[in-house]
Assembly symmetry: C2
Homo-oligomer: 400 residues x 2
Amino acid sequence: MSDPTTPAAAGRPLDGIRVVELSSFVASPLSGLTLAQLGAEVIRVDPTGGAADVNRWPLAPDGTSIYWTGLNRGKASVTLDLRSDEGRQALRDLVTAPGAGGGILVTNSAGRDWMSHDALAAIRPDVITLELPGRRDGRPAVDYTVNAALGFPAVTGQVDEQGGGHGVGQVVNHVLPAWDVAAGLHAALAVVAAVRERERTGRGRHIVLPLDDVALATAGTLGYLTEPQLDGTSRPAVGNHVYGTFGTDFTTSDGGRFMIVALTTRHFHDLARLTGTREAVDALETAAGADFSTESDRYSYREVLAALFARWFSAHTTEEVARALSESVVLHERYRTFAEVVSDGDLVANPLFARLDQPGIGPYLAAAHPATFDGAHLTTGPAPRLGADTGRLTTGGSPA
Amino acid sequence: MSDPTTPAAAGRPLDGIRVVELSSFVASPLSGLTLAQLGAEVIRVDPTGGAADVNRWPLAPDGTSIYWTGLNRGKASVTLDLRSDEGRQALRDLVTAPGAGGGILVTNSAGRDWMSHDALAAIRPDVITLELPGRRDGRPAVDYTVNAALGFPAVTGQVDEQGGGHGVGQVVNHVLPAWDVAAGLHAALAVVAAVRERERTGRGRHIVLPLDDVALATAGTLGYLTEPQLDGTSRPAVGNHVYGTFGTDFTTSDGGRFMIVALTTRHFHDLARLTGTREAVDALETAAGADFSTESDRYSYREVLAALFARWFSAHTTEEVARALSESVVLHERYRTFAEVVSDGDLVANPLFARLDQPGIGPYLAAAHPATFDGAHLTTGPAPRLGADTGRLTTGGSPA
């Protein structure tokens, strides 16, 4: 936990930049939050009464959205009647106002003529707009539908039968909206890259970043869509094993669970040592004609090796296992719940977190930007009350 | 699929920037790839013979790593004996070489005195360094261990017992290395923000971005670590349901699986209409005293509602369900495998993908940067042969 009264480091990387965010849900609000942490002035615009995410769960006891306030920290809030000509003009004025660092719009409400890139560029030629639609064809989509169509749920939380078919008989959705997170960070990066370019050339940019293309590009880069092109097959479902190396989960005598990864030969030898299986592993290697100094063979024999190591875990308590692992080089963590992360004191002990007095939520430990810049975390104040800055920042606004 | 012979748009946002990347695995190579797509010259430096990821699975038939080549497209490759004074000097020379856009190092091999920020800043005071360690305390960690300690596997792929306890009796790892992806994008963003600042102020930056802090900050921002601070509880495991709204998976009469999300009241009414359950839903709403115009009540009654809707899905074929959904406003996708994404022709139909002739892999459809800039995707050439640019770019290098 940091002391929130410590003055921020002199200057932030994005000082002088002003971004208008017409957004909802995760991806575009996360881009705005990240830009605000890095020093930009971020103005979130919502329709009168709030967007569809204003009351999204989880909620605090008084009904305030933990979700909305978490994603909109450090921003200004403007509400406008976006069905009226006056409200639309106020949005255009806000985006195209003079100022070297202004002229930037991030939105997931793409495709409206009255706020299109061309309409804004007609007023301010160097405008930078970033649209974040669900699908490249303009149709809506959300993280969970994008992920279903892409293939990850078919290989999560299950193991393909030996030599059996591979399909979508079972599906397990991820819980983290990973594509929203990736899209939000890609959006912030694309905007800052375009700002850097504009400061050199004076040129604006029209950027379109579809959520489904973020997912496809990431899966393609990581190889998931290359294997099927080469041999027509998908990567198999391997349960909690890590594909291509030795890593899986083990259970202790008192029900603790550990994730173990032996990425290198050094890790692997130490795992064999601490589980007392060195001789058995060596005998297996010889008998099978395998070479456990290669990741390939450690992966190929993962089930035999895991069964060997599991005997030691199941014969020792969580405390004994944790101690032995901490004295080894093996990569490991005990599986925990979110509540345990908090009750174990991780947040209090970590300067990433600082006390935030959030109206409607109360004081809590809130995360800054995950990086330190010259040793300092970049944090922000609380989320605004919906519409709090409408009068200050616009002339055509309506109260929330 | 785009035509890769189309000339790139005139200029890219990061033209003139030169980044040295001393990296391995996913996060820092992904940051370099993304910077390269945006226009930076990126030089990946490896120890002689390659880093620990050089042969990582998946592999092409000739043994070339699909993974390594996918993440290192469009970069130059330099190999150095980093245990020798000459190799270390060559790395320092590469990072600190003159040039307004140079002086940038991204690395996950932090903590070495001879390449510390201070050592480099003593040569080039405006140097920007970004270190990406596994943990903030400097210890190594990987995506799968970070995720285990944070809480997501305890709420993935399972449903808590009604009123029962909540713990880590079951754990399901994610398959996508989501924290590596988020860390790589955060790293690219932090570097570009620092470049933008340096171009205005002349000031360098020492940035440290631990993988575990990326995960903690994201989970904190999304509210997962706020709920336990307010009432001591973790979010429950809800299987394939989407937390806080109505969304889950359904199975058709011939075994097809669909992910359905009814985010708005309009979506929800259309789902009731197409499944022929409007009267039953209305009767349930009245009898229960619920208000299905709120996300909260649609979520609270998710199991009853899903059971009602499931009868229609199980009575219709995949083709019938797909047709009916496509004529509705309900957010939906059919669950597919990675192989189906390819065999359905998604990549061929999408300008995000272009043919890439990758030595060792062959021609395949590779993804560009997921955004379009003024309508054009930003793509790169293939990955280099390991060490191909050592002679051209260094004087102290050794052959691979």
